[in-house]
Symmetry: C2
Subunit: 352 residues, 2 copies
């Protein structure tokens, strides 16, 4: 006899809308949402169908989380630090200046209590938090003039957002909010002097090299950037358990995919940018040191008045000291050796 299907209730037809904070042209970061949707759709034979909408199609990119909170859409794909205007605590779900690198972030979120602490914060606001993607350490942005010392930052009008803008402000930078598509003309006209965006693969598309050729690293305000899905908490709680599990699994897979894609595409883009005239520069040590000190001031100010921020920040910072201790042993010495071999030409395929 044919066995009765055992799954009658378990794969209901559900159609959701996911609004992205990103345009389709940023294919790598936008792809975090479409990857998740594909993984979920394929695993359910199309029964759990998440349609992804680019920034602006339903709501503007920076209102994605609001659209989830007010029920316009069931979920969004965004970077939680876009919402520091609501509360700086949001940034801890994405990245904060001098925070963790990507592997540290993943360890803290998945094993160090990060995900639970973030959901403890976001759930009462109607949101369920799940990481979905990572860019890795970002670049420090494009400057029209060279920065040789902290003093050179004084009065620089820089497109930089959130907590990083506050930190830069302490060094004399005048932080500016400029939407992605408006950065190039603002740099060209000299309305702004500098702009940070993401990294080589994304930066190349906006053409900054032509108008602000000094390309600094590292973006100390984004040692990693965890993208994230916010799901309306009622919608999350009403999902069958198998769909909850699948969504969580698919989000982890989309994290691995996005970071892999950036790590694959950034090297070639960096080569093209340098060929096009980008002047690669590390931030001077005094800029790095002053930025670190300024960041600690910003954190002290927030921690003194914001208990939810302090609770999550303390957890992150406790693990931060541990992870950089361990990473400097096997991981860093292996990488250092291999990078020196890259520099001396020993890694060229013909030498292998």
């Amino acid at each position: 006899a044919l066995a009765a299907p055992a799954i009658a209730q378990s794969a209901p037809k559900i159609q959701w809308r996911c609004t992205s904070s990103f345009p389709k042209s940023l294919d790598t970061i936008y792809g975090g949402a479409t990857d998740l949707a594909t993984f979920v759709r394929e695993a359910t034979d199309g029964n759990f169908d998440i349609q992804v909408f680019a920034a602006g199609e339903i709501v503007p990119g920076l209102q994605a989380a609001d659209a989830v909170m007010n029920g316009t859409v069931q979920m969004c794909h965004t970077a939680a630090y876009y919402y520091v205007g609501k509360d700086p605590t949001w940034a801890l779900g994405a990245t904060v200046p001098f925070g963790l690198n990507a592997r540290g972030m993943h360890a803290w979120l998945n094993y160090g209590g990060g995900n639970d602490l973030l959901n403890e914060y976001f759930n009462p606001q109607g949101l369920h938090y799940i990481q979905g993607g990572n860019t890795g350490t970002q670049m420090g942005g494009w400057f029209r003039k060279e920065i040789k010392t902290v003093a050179d930052l004084n009065g620089v009008k820089m497109r930089i957002a959130g907590l990083a803008g506050q930190v830069m402000g302490k060094l004399g930078v005048v932080p500016q909010q400029v939407a992605g598509g408006d950065i190039y003309p603002a740099l060209e006209r000299g309305t702004i002097d500098a702009a940070e965006w993401i990294g080589p693969y994304d930066d190349e598309k906006l053409g900054f090299v032509k108008v602000a050729p000094f390309y600094y690293y590292p973006g100390w305000w984004e040692g990693n950037l965890a993208l994230n899905f916010f799901i309306n908490n009622e919608q999350w709680n009403s999902l069958p358990k198998n769909y909850q599990s699948l969504l969580s699994t698919a989000a982890k897979a989309s994290t691995l995919e996005m970071l892999s894609e950036y790590d694959y595409k950034n090297p070639a883009a960096l080569n093209r940018l340098v060929a096009a005239g980008a002047q690669l520069r590390p931030f001077p040590q005094d800029v790095m040191n002053a930025s670190f000190a300024a960041a600690q001031e910003v954190y002290k100010g927030i921690n003194a008045t914001n208990a939810p921020f302090k609770k999550i920040y303390d957890s992150m910072v406790e693990f931060r000291a541990q992870t950089y201790l361990w990473q400097q042993v096997a991981e860093y010495t292996f990488d250092t050796f291999m990078m020196l071999r890259q520099r001396d030409g020993s890694l060229k395929p013909q030498n292998g």
Copy 2:
């Protein structure tokens, strides 16, 4: 009217057995298989049920892939380099000396053609290859005496396997094959002088610190270790498409999970090992340089006679030069700055 369930054919009851190459006591690495099984089971309400068996329960750990090839089990969780006795090409699915770090490996596998090339090699042998986990860069192992120069390696009997054993052999090391449970007594009795295992969290369990306290880094033969699932190719092809997709998604999620877990657990284990007397030592530069040169000799020998190895190796090596170029820009300078702050105490929570 109640809508008819749309999924009658799509979630058949399937029960598979997955034999692991690892014992349950290595919970982190063994967990790669149980994570995948849990993700798949939960997403299908138990309809796709993968039972995981520890090494030795069905077949010995180092015969896991054979058990898949001959149909004893549908799939296994293993490290492909265990099978270099069949052909060194297998190692490229796991790791090779002076290869990629974890992020480089994931980028190459998922975007650089690695997965496709590996399946082109493994499919005709009846296997479908999927990555499932990563340990990150491993430690260089435990030595009874200090290694101050290449000459100190001469005659050292070291538990080290595969291609790394061949490379070490060129430096005078006498490579030994010793199963995990036998390493401690062999070190204690002096039957062997050194042993490499994995990293702090796993090494601590075997107690090596008591009998071989010099703990070297990095394990240049495992800049990353990609664990992997081998699925019997006929079984893979007979799976419904939705189960194929789910299995692939779950494997990516298990990769993120395992690396997160290692990155979370290794720091505390390293602290405990140092407290217990481990003498942390970087391999001397002349040992690193001689090992790198010896590895190139091993590769030249294999590439000259093994076209499948050369094809996959060339692809990996071409990306290797690219990824270490890019990683030394934003990623490395950020990490370096943070590690210096870790060393000078600035990352201590009370300073944040």
